[in-house]
Subunit: 352 residues, 2 copies
DNA sequence: GGATAGCCGGAGAGCGCTCTCCCATTCTCC
DNA sequence: GGAGAATGGGAGAGCGCTCTCCGGCTATCC
């Protein structure tokens, strides 16, 4: 931390290091960035000068000329605009949701070795979305990773229209010329259905998420189709909102209409957990009386009782892939958008 | 999005706007930043030109001259250096931990109205910490918010030594000249103890976190002292590691040694939940046979069964206060470090 | 009416860096 | 040994912005 040189009061600059090493600014820059060959002797002198002055390259100055922020935005987006309370409900749900943590983990996994760090942004209103767009247009970040919880989130389209590099998690409702990562939801649902069938369950019900989401549709379709293929033609459905309470409510409705149900497939773990609570309160044993399968395999799945049998979504890998795709789009602006689909896996625990 | 002007291929610059509006660069800058009086007529022309060109000020250029990044770093820090597996264990634990989400929520609450966004960083190794320090020294962020999960995390001291603005969550083990926010842990433990005493419990046990943490010490001390003051002199203790498994293991040990226990005070909700599982597995009813009190009041507390009675830590408020303090330090570098202590609150649910 | 103050716009100097030229030196090969 | 190629360092022009200074203008006051 010894300064000594930088008589210019502030932090030492390239100029200071150059003077200390007795070379030009350009040479120091070359050594610092490891570009072009530089005489080992001079390299050494420069490195010593860097250490002596405690030099740290100024990021703003570098960005100004390279036109790269070396930063990406991680945008959590999509609360309903016209619902006044949506804003807080959403923030509460998603940021505290372990799903969010898993996304962060995956993104950081990819970014860290590259010494990059995500900027966290939340887009819940039209103003927020404009802000995200202008943030990128200002060059504060080179691209965006978007996680919407709303099927018709307009942000991806805005980003695409502005020609900004972006990758989205889960295919948006209306096609957008952006790369995205997604899960094979139909396959996940098929896995769940076949497991329940193998268990001999013949009166399954399902708790879906908001049916506007394509992913929700696919899970439902996959489940129904598989069941139908095995002769189970009618699968009662209740729609939930991904929250535990909504799962409880949905379960209660299903139980009232179909007291003889023997299996539940919920569109996420949290609702599955809610369903378990209700089932237990009504004296049903899990999995003996009712088998329950969730979706996601978030941290709750393993820690709740009974531990949840669930369809694992490799969120961390998917998030890391988003980052990788984004990097590709940033470095090669003309690269066409692609969709990477991940395979789900059934994780067997206690509930089914 | 109509461009039209910027013949300079890239994004429109101040220069482009100035030309379009028929004024000087300085005037455009003044209008954009709302500094000094500018003739309303000219202001209007400038605004029109801004809209017409689709101008967005370049952040790097601005930062270069203002010496402000208008960005702060949110650093999650503290895995044990010498334990090879600590890195992943930590990342998994903390990022997925709802606690982290609550911190983010609080920080964003403060930052958002100011159009700022946190950069997420993880510091688990000495190299990571050096990286955080140099990131700040590069001017990539104006200051850091540090959340350590390790009592003797060296990062705060490094930051302080480098003279960088930083605020830490929870007082570090060894005093560091940085502002911090903390909870009155003794008071929280007292609240829990008195509630158990009021319930008529006389054979309480407690599951602590890693005893190296000052907060853990205070919770334990506060619990013991309050109990002692009411005649309960011996409180069996088992140390946990804040994870559910560690809570389960601790509970099992306590149960083996003190089968007649009638109350458990756990140092966090997750361990309390683990304790509940073990107690139930051993046939103990909660709260009839054993009353359980957790700490934190994270999202799990309300959603697990039985819903947890717990000591609420206002994490969001604390995190927002961190951001506020940091802003103060950034704007007034000479402001002395302060500690803001928050009051806990007992939240009554089913478990006690 | 002239001197002084106040207001507002423009000119221009950088902020710290990268990167393209350019030039000096050494190497290579006939 | 001399022409050509390669190698490695320096000079200097900006990147897009802010901000100080300056100058021209109008308002104010004796």
């Amino acid at each position: 931390m010894s300064r000594g040189f930088g008589r210019s009061a502030g932090a030492p600059t390239l100029e200071d290091v150059a003077r200390a090493a007795g070379v030009s600014r350009a040479t120091v820059s070359r050594v610092v960035n490891g570009v072009r060959n530089v005489d080992p002797v001079i390299q050494d002198a420069v490195r010593r000068a860097v250490a002596a002055t405690g030099y740290a390259p100024n990021r703003a100055a570098r960005s100004l000329v390279t036109r790269r922020a070396e930063t990406i935005a991680l945008v959590v987006s999509g609360a309903d605009d016209d619902s006044p309370s949506a804003s807080t409900a959403f923030a509460g749900r998603t940021v505290t949701d372990p799903f969010f943590g898993r996304v962060v983990t995956g993104v950081v996994q990819f970014l860290r070795p590259r010494s990059m760090h995500p900027v966290l942004m939340f887009a819940e209103s039209p103003a927020d979305r404009d802000h995200v767009v202008s943030y990128l247009r200002q060059g504060s970040a080179d691209g965006a990773l978007v996680v919407s919880n709303h099927a018709d989130d307009p942000l991806p389209a805005q980003l695409a229209a502005a020609g900004l590099p972006a990758v989205v998690f889960a295919r948006p409702a209306l096609p957008v010329p952006l790369s995205c990562v997604d899960l094979d939801h139909r396959e996940g649902a098929r896995l769940a259905a076949e497991h329940l069938l193998a268990l001999g369950r013949a009166r399954p019900v399902t708790i879906t998420g908001p049916t506007a989401l394509p992913a929700v549709q696919e899970r439902l379709g996959g489940f129904r189709d598989t069941m139908a293929r095995h002769g189970v033609t009618a699968v009662p459905v209740a729609e939930g909102g991904f929250s535990q309470e909504s799962g409880e409510a949905a379960m209660a409705r299903l139980l009232a209409r179909h007291p003889d149900l023997d299996a539940v497939f919920a569109a996420n773990d949290v609702m599955a957990q809610g369903a378990c609570h209700v089932l237990r309160d009504r004296g049903r044993r899990i999995p003996e009386d009712v088998a329950v399968i969730g979706f996601d395999d978030g941290p709750v799945a393993a820690s709740c009782r009974p531990a949840l049998t669930t369809v694992r979504q490799p969120v961390e890998d998917m998030a890391a892939e988003m980052a990788r795709l984004l990097q590709g789009h940033i470095e090669h602006p003309d690269r066409p958008a692609t969709t990477v689909v991940f395979a789900p896996r059934l994780v067997l625990r206690e509930s089914a």
